[in-house]
């Protein structure tokens, strides 16, 4: 990512303002539409889940300018997701749902450049989460 792309991700996220709950609601809607099989992985109350998700996403977006800081969050987050039953093959689905939700809520502000910046940002988060997941997962019996 270029410094400009990092800025673009952060400013577009801030631009959501009070629409952040719309984003998270839309995100889960898109996620379950794309893969209904993921729904059983979420055992807690969905309202609470949405709040947790937006808090975590905010943390990640704020940390993305510093790799060391980002890794602290994503590694732990990835390790926890192993326990939830999330697999590497699920990550692209999550990314697509997030982009759909951003496009729906941001509307015209979500232009091609912003979209590309988010694609790269999500991939960076996903890959570092997966590295954390791999370290946490016991292999073979």
């Amino acid at each position: 990512m270029t410094p400009e792309q990092i800025t673009l991700v952060q400013t577009s996220y801030e631009g959501l303002g009070p629409r952040l709950p719309d984003l998270t609601a839309r995100f889960y809607q898109e996620l379950f539409r794309r893969d209904p099989g993921l729904r059983p992985l979420f055992t807690t109350d969905m309202a609470e889940q949405q709040v947790r998700f937006s808090l975590k996403l905010t943390q990640l977006v704020q940390a993305i300018g510093s790799l060391d800081e980002l890794l602290v969050h994503t590694r732990a987050l990835g390790a926890r997701h192993v326990g939830y039953g999330v697999r590497a093959v699920d990550y692209p689905t999550v990314g697509a749902a997030l982009l759909d939700a951003l496009a729906a809520v941001l509307g015209d502000d979500f232009d091609a450049e912003t979209r590309q910046a988010w694609v790269l940002a999500y991939n960076l988060m996903a890959e570092t989460m997966l590295a954390g997941a791999a370290a946490a997962r016991p292999v073979g019996g």
Binding site: M1, T2, P3, E4, Q5, I6, G65, S66, L67, D68, R87, A88, V89, Y91, V119, L120, N123, L124, E127, T128, L130, A131, A133, A134, R137, P138, V139, G140, G141
Partner: protein, 899 residues
């Protein structure tokens, strides 16, 4: 510069491969799955992914191992997998009698014990470059669940049979690796450099590498070292220019070129002799050199075995190519001496007390590596190691390697066993004159009786099948019988004499010789079965032939792999032939097809050729002329490619017959011309003359055809080849109507074959012009699946009925003949067409007549068949003439029950 990124470079990040790693975890958890194959282009990250899998497995407590193929390691059998063998194993006995399977089993037990029954997770990097024996061992261990295989195979390299076999059975998971997407490249750069990268740098790296991870790594490391990539205020910039070329070799060379002299000599040593013990390298290189090489990502140190390797196979290839030949030789020889000295110091039993598993494995590999280095350096390796290595290569049917290894043994050290191995390899590689020379020299060396026997048997086989000189084979066999008199070896030589006789066209003499064998050990029984099954089948004693082939197969399976003996699949070939002679055509076909699948892909061309030729022969008897032509052409091509002159002759003869049956005289003549270019071949020679006869017939020379058939039948009679004599005489009846009944009846009595019996009955019916008997002969042939012969007999019955004034029965017989002929794929033989009586309807005529008989008007028939009304009427007129009717009402009557 380097220190700025040391932290990240110690573990170059892995990006875009997590789904693949999860596949590995899943497969490793499964008991049924035996491993994983990683396919992809050079530099795509196969080695990296395989090593990552191995590390994950190790972290979870699995025992792991790593072996790597290379162009040099491929030379010495089992050289690459020595770490999987117990000490002292890896070697069959000097004369190769100790079973290799026993060695594999020993390795399995050794690993089971060493790892407490846990699967050894084994990376086989660049697997296609492993020698055949190593592949066979890995296949054995994987199939038994002793190792879990992680193999890498580069796109474009041949995929080892082991991999395709296991993969086809669903026992291996396959992963296809592709280059990184641009998004993944961006993430990789971000992680590798530890922060954002300015747009121009990312753009340029993408353009140069197109996402190839190896290129990316070389570019980034090279850029860091040269100072082209720099960090300012937390952002990475490209200040200088990256190397202008995208060629990987240049990149690697540039990085190596910047090393200090000490570091470079370490890298060179590794490229020639890796892996090298960490302790030794520390003793020869100044402090810090290894660390800096590791930090620069050029070498990799694995701690469990304290070994150092270059980080990527590509590095080894590049560095090696740049070392002057003289220096490479000096290094290899010096390392060989060093390792040898260390081995001697350790002593043959590894000192006092039982050796640890690790030291015994190291000792086992050391002898191989020493030999390999000396061979590579053009020096003189230990001849014993070479000969033992050749045994292993021979087990894997890797005759090129056998030849290379034995030819490196100095002439005065080449004993009888070495000569046997080399002679056999030369025979298999089609160098028949050289094979004879080497084997003859081996016969002059002192040897055990057993080795002397095998030299004689192999030399006789070479004389017969390679040089096509069966008389010479008999002389070689006779000389050996004069010297080798103790049983069971003497009996094996008798069996071998019978084999020469059988396969040079003397089944009668072979059977007499075989009577001299009283009991024999298992090996003798196997050799006897190879000779006796075809001889019995040719004599027409098919039940005994079938039993002999089946016993031979069972005995061979119990015997295991041995030197100087035919491939086990040859018993199946014999069984196919015996079943065919017994008239059990469908069974023979099924077995031959199964056999073809078994030997396909393995290195047994002679079995492949014989299966294809037998399938052609079966199709010929079934009347499926086009299928016969296809199989025979395939057999001829295979025989040509593998320089089997004898089987080639059989295949081309069959091809000519099939072409002639199809009426293609030119193609038949072409096959005969090709056949004439090769030496004569006595095996089933009378049958080969069917080709001459049928080609003459197709060229419009029936008298010449009859002459060939009579002559060949006389040859068959003189050599006791009864089934061929019956075939030839029956064809004489079919083609010329000449009477051969008396002899055919004798043959039917002497044989137990229903096919021979049906031929005799047909001949008798033709002579008697008996319509019911001809119809009965058609029944016999049809029951055997010989459709063309059945169609001809039915056509003969039609003629006879017609002559007897029974047009109704004649028409019915003719219809039957047409139906049978329709399965014959376009065969057109004299027996199907009789000028003096109603000609069978053509396919089109038949189609139209059936519709007309149902009451359809010509216009409706024309519409239905997309023909003009005029064409339909023309066909109808021809059909009326042939059937002797004048109207549609007559048609209906003539077709009788068919309505």
């Amino acid at each position: 510069m380097l220190s700025a990124v040391t932290g990240t470079l110690q573990r170059w990040p892995i990006v875009g491969r997590r789904a693949e790693l999860e596949v590995f975890e899943r497969v490793l958890d499964s008991v049924e799955q035996k491993g994983l194959v990683i396919y992809g282009r050079a530099g795509v990250g196969k080695t990296r992914l395989a090593d990552e899998c191995r590390q994950q497995a190790a972290a979870a407590g699995h025992p792991t191992e790593r072996i790597a193929g290379s162009r040099t390691a491929a030379l010495l059998p089992l050289g690459a997998v020595a770490a999987l063998l117990p000490r002292g194993a890896g070697w069959p006995d000097a004369d190769g009698t100790a079973g290799i399977v026993a060695l594999f089993e020993q390795a399995r037990q050794f690993l089971l014990q060493r790892h407490g029954g846990r699967r050894l997770v084994t990376v086989a990097d660049d697997m296609a470059l492993l020698d055949a024996a190593s592949l066979a061992l890995l296949g054995y261990l994987a199939a038994h669940g002793t190792v879990f295989l992680i193999a890498t195979v580069r796109t474009g390299e041949p995929v080892p049979d082991l991999v395709t076999g296991l993969w086809r059975d669903g026992l291996l998971e396959r992963i296809d690796l592709a280059d990184l997407s641009r998004v993944h490249l961006d993430t990789l750069l971000h992680l590798a450099l530890g922060g954002p990268v300015e747009a121009g740098a990312e753009q340029e790296i993408w353009e140069v590498t197109a996402g190839n991870p190896m290129y990316v790594r070389e570019l980034v490391l090279g850029g860091l070292e040269s100072g082209a990539l720099v960090e300012r205020s937390g952002v990475w910039h490209l200040e200088g220019r990256l190397p202008s070329t995208s060629r990987l070799l240049d990149l690697v060379e540039q990085r190596i070129g910047q090393l200090s002299a000490e570091a470079r000599s370490v890298v060179e040593l590794l490229s020639l002799c890796q892996p090298v013990e960490l302790g030794y390298l520390e003793s020869i290189a100044p402090a810090g050199v290894l660390e800096s090489l590791e930090r620069a990502g050029l070498v990799m140190i694995t701690l469990p075995d304290q070994a150092v390797r270059l980080a990527h196979p590509m590095h080894a290839r590049v560095v090696r190519a740049a070392i002057p030949q003289s220096r490479a030789r000096a290094t290899l020889l010096a390392q060989a001496s060093r390792l040898e000295a260390a081995l001697t110091a350790q002593g043959p039993s590894g000192g006092s007390g039982p050796p640890s598993a690790a030291t015994s494995a190291a000792a086992a590999s050391a002898a191989l590596r020493i030999a390999l280095w000396r061979l590579d350096a053009g020096g003189q390796p230990d001849p014993d190691v070479l000969i033992r290595g050749a045994h292993l290569a021979r087990y894997a049917h890797d005759f090129r390697v056998v030849r290379r290894l034995i030819e490196a043994v100095p002439g005065d050290r080449l004993d009888a066993v070495g000569a046997l191995l080399l002679g056999e390899a030369l025979y298999e590689l089609g160098e028949f004159r050289d094979a004879d020379r080497v084997l003859a020299r081996g016969q002059q060396q002192p040897s055990t009786e057993q080795v002397a026997l095998r030299l004689a048997v192999t030399r006789a086989k070479n004389a017969q099948w390679g040089l096509c000189e069966p008389e010479a084979a008999l002389v070689i066999n006779g000389a050996a019988r004069a010297v080798i008199t103790s049983r069971p070896l003497a009996e094996e030589l008798i069996a071998d004499e019978a084999s020469v006789l059988t396969f040079s066209g003397h089944p009668d003499r072979a059977l007499i010789v075989l009577d001299r064998i009283t009991g024999g050990d298992r090996r003798t029984r196997v050799v006897r079965a190879i000779a006796s099954a075809p001889a019995l089948a040719m004599a027409g004693w098919t039940a005994q032939a079938i039993a002999a082939a089946e016993e031979g197969r069972a005995d061979h399976a119990a015997l295991g792999e041995e030197l100087a003996i035919a491939h086990p699949a040859m018993h199946v070939v014999n069984l196919v032939f015996a079943l065919t002679e017994a008239g059990r055509l469908a069974e023979a076909e099924q077995l031959a097809r199964a056999g073809t699948e078994t030997v396909a892909g393995s290195r047994v061309p002679v079995a492949q050729i014989f299966f294809a030729a037998n399938l052609g022969r079966i199709a010929t008897l079934q009347g499926r002329a086009t299928t016969a032509r296809r199989y025979y052409a395939e057999a001829a091509g295979l025989a040509d490619a593998n320089r089997f002159a004898g089987p080639r002759r059989l295949a081309l003869s069959g091809l000519a017959v099939a072409c002639a049956m199809l009426g293609d005289a030119a193609a038949a003549a072409q096959a005969l011309a090709e056949r004439a270019a090769g030496p004569p071949f006595g095996f089933r020679e009378p049958e080969q003359h069917l080709a001459d006869a049928w080609t003459a017939l197709a060229s419009g020379q029936p008298a010449e055809a009859a002459e060939w058939l009579n002559e060949a039948a006389a040859l068959a009679a003189a050599t006791g080849h009864r089934t061929a004599e019956a075939w030839l005489l029956h064809d004489l009846v079919r083609i010329t109507g000449q009477d051969a009944t008396a002899r055919l009846l004798e043959l039917a009595d002497a044989c137990d074959s229903p096919l021979v019996r049906a031929r005799a009955r047909h001949a008798l019916a033709v002579r008697a012009r008996s319509a019911p008997e001809l119809a009965a002969a058609a029944d016999d042939f049809e029951a055997l699946g010989a459709m063309l012969l059945a169609a001809e007999a039915a056509a003969g019955a039609a003629e006879a009925y017609s002559r007897a004034g029974d047009p109704r029965a004649a028409a019915a017989a003719l219809r039957r003949s047409n139906v049978l002929a329709a399965t014959c794929e376009g065969a057109s033989t004299p027996g199907l067409v009789h000028a003096d009586t109603a000609v069978p309807l053509s396919g089109r005529e038949r189609e139209i007549v059936l519709l007309a008989a149902k009451g359809l008007a010509s216009k409706d028939i024309a519409e239905r068949l997309y023909l003009s009304v005029r064409t339909v009427n023309n066909h109808l007129q021809h059909a009326y003439a042939k059937l002797g009717v004048g109207s549609r009402a007559g048609l209906a009557q003539a077709l009788g029950s068919e309505r």
